[in-house]
Amino acid sequence: MTTSQLLVQGQPATQQVGGVNKIVNDFSIQVATVNGSGSQSANSVLLRSIFSMGVPVSGKNLFPSNIAGLPTWYTIRVSKQGWVARKTDIDILIAMNPETAREDVLALGAGAAVIYDESLKLNELRDDVAFYAVPFDQLAATTGADAKLRKLIKNMVYVGVAAFVLKIDMEKVEQTVRKQFAKKVKAAELNLNAVRVGYDYAASTLTKQDPYVVEPMNATDGKIIIDGNSAAAMGAMFAGVTVVSWYPITPSSSVVENLIDYMKRYRVEKDGKASFAIVQAEDELAAIGMVLGAGWAGARSMTASSGPGISLMAEFAGLGYYAEIPGVIFDIQRTGPSTGLPTRTSQADLSFVAGLSHGDTKHVILLPGTVKECFEFGIAAFDLAEQLQTPVFVLSDLDLGMNNWMSEPFEYPEKPLQRGKVLNAKQLGELGGFARYKDVDGDAIPYRTLPGTDHPAAAYFTRGSGHNEKALYSERPEDYENNMMRLARKFETAATLVPKPIIEGKGDAKAGIIAFGTSHFAVVECRDQLERESQISTDYLRVRAYPFTQEIRDFVAAHERIYVVEQNRDAQLLNLLKIDLDPAQVVKLHSVLHFNGLPIDARSITPAIASHEGASK
């Protein structure tokens, strides 16, 4: 099941009511606040209330690298068509940050609406948008919350105002608040009261002037809302991870923080003992070192990091590849190089990770495009790492990892854990011994033993220096070459085991689009725009893993022009494809890039493809 099929089920459309065009379930809200002002719960209530009315939503937090004080924006897209990529045009602005309010208002298109704090006098700025002035401080004071809490409670007041303006069902808002504060009844009441104060003020004072409304649909039944990092953490837990070592870094920290919560809850045994170890390491070098030490000793081990941490892991990644040790590394990509924009999204680690290390190195990479795949690949990565005896990377990004996405519920993994080729003492007894790096089965994957295996021939010497089939130190040219060629063949075996790409479209279009990860949601919307606005039909292939599989070569061969959409400057996917493809096919590839740190949106790719397609017709 693909995500573009996942969503379109409701029916409300634009209607004429009382002479004003109603725009139903098709707009975006932006909440502009100050970082650290506690608006997260309020924004989540807004998002989930609309979701619980059956209307497709997506929420994106555009936040600064800062604890408190800098501007932050939360955008909610409401889309009856089920589009969940970012929409750059803002229809409803909730202006809570005096610092950015002016600029935010001036950036709006005509016809937008602004909910703002009365004192900011934003209505003087222009006359082609609808203004709703709200005395937030006064209203917060009437909620009865003490002074300390008023700053927080103000956020719930705007939820109430927005609920009135956008006709969000107050019953759903109430349910959402109660669910959100399930364990804190007092807090729930306090917040609910603030929502009501906002709603009542708006209902008695404001007149609806804008066309945007929410109407119930049934397009979210049975669906969940979750962020990719929580999903990845769940995947790791259901993969049976036992050793986790990490160093905090945005935007990956919540992978392990969520994992800690899940593991404490579901992986502590009746006697209170843990079936896992989670260690906060001194740095990313130590994190990956512990992962490989644990993987070598037979545990399912993982770490999660982002660009700067991945850079530090390069040396160990080479050791893992060359000494053939399993381990899973989640890379939640942010913009680089260097510190880059720590809280902004990117897909620019792809080519670096593909060959992470000095020397000839190729790594297996899984490329989740949805939260469901964060879960599924979170499981698959551990199977592949042990089957292939190599580090496996899962490349997510900030947009997928930290933002809220709708999804079908995750399915319980039916396939048992794949622990790979591990010889026990009994098998060693029958074989009389083994050669650690010998290709016995023709798939280039050798057999290994685990420390503690009780047989005199079980031990071997693991090293990152040159070795022969028996794991003995060797500088012989033929030993080095044979080993490196076997590792290359092992990568070919990997191509038969990794998730295959997903292809959408009728297959008869002349133009094809290739993308990976979160570019997916912009691509599906872009294809719709191309079809509707320019009558350009496209086929679409979403890459889900490296090494590339035959389906990708076939897809390129079957199309005249291929647009490779990705979120980096240097066309990294395209360049990796170039290495893989027949030179005659390479000329078909055209790059479509988005790399300003904000999540990709359809409008930033459609024109490039449309104009190129126009030129080639």
Binding site: M234, S275, A294, W296, A297, H455, A458, A459, Y460, F461
Partner: protein
Amino acid sequence: MSTPAVTPKPIKTNRIGLQILDYRGGKTTLCAGCGHNAISERITEAFYEMGIQPERVMKMSGIGCSSKSPAYFMSRSFSFNSVHGRMPSVATGALLANKTMRSIGVSGDGDTASIGMGQFVHFMRRNVPMIYIIEDNGVYGLTKGQFSATADIGSKLKTGVVNDLPAIDICALAIQLGATFVGRSFSGDKKQLSTMLKAALSHQGTVLLDVISPCVTFNDHEGSTKSYKYMQEHEDAVGEIGFVPYFDDIAIEYDPNTTVDVQLHDGSHMRLRKLHESYDPTDKVNAIKMLMETHEKGEVLTGVFYVDTQKTDFTTLLNMVDEPLATLSEDRTRPSREVLTSIMQAHL
């Protein structure tokens, strides 16, 4: 030449029926006379004498001459020669995966006190249960003789270059950081090193042994403070170490006025007869003070400086299940279908 027929000598075995041969490693490729080879010998003997099954041992190392040496002892043990300065993290991970294994790490002064300082510090702090040996020669051997961070100020390279930076005292550092068994020895002091290693095998926690191990090729000349000659002239033992393993049921008299008795985790006893008046192996501050004072005098203090048998080691601290995490069955590591359903419900 004829030899008179003799009855073959009975093969000597240890308490688990293994011969010393079962503890041997590959042929060393280090220089003849290298202190590291002597240390490998002592390690081999200690494991043999303590009767430890080689298959229950993990040998960990980083990069350098010292880090090659695990290839030269105990071939039946599992060995991991990792990357430069990163043995502590790899060793930690391996022990998390299987806390039932014994672990011995071999590092050098470059591998530990320079490139590996970050990981060393945190390994000590965590009290990871492993014997961490630094084969300390004050010099980088594999890259042909540059100073390391344990070289004493004023000591000379073969080329005449004088070291103008102070040495890092790894033992003082380890004591301050939280290691629970800290000592220094000399590769040429067979009796002291052997006893110390056997006592170390009875301890549950981080054992840090800084073993001065002269580099015959690059740092054994006049002007070096890590040479055989310098050590023979300046070694100053803080105490005489005796060891009574738990499986030897013999009572040895000792004088509590002159000797400290330490009961180790496996029931063995370490007897430390004071050679220095102020010696107290349970006093951190005193231990560091003694180390600094002797160093000031140009002497090299050896012996067991500090022991703490009470502090919880890292694998115990994590409260893991009794079995190795590595081989737990799927029913204990993959939560049930119901768990997934309930998490999904919470996200509806």
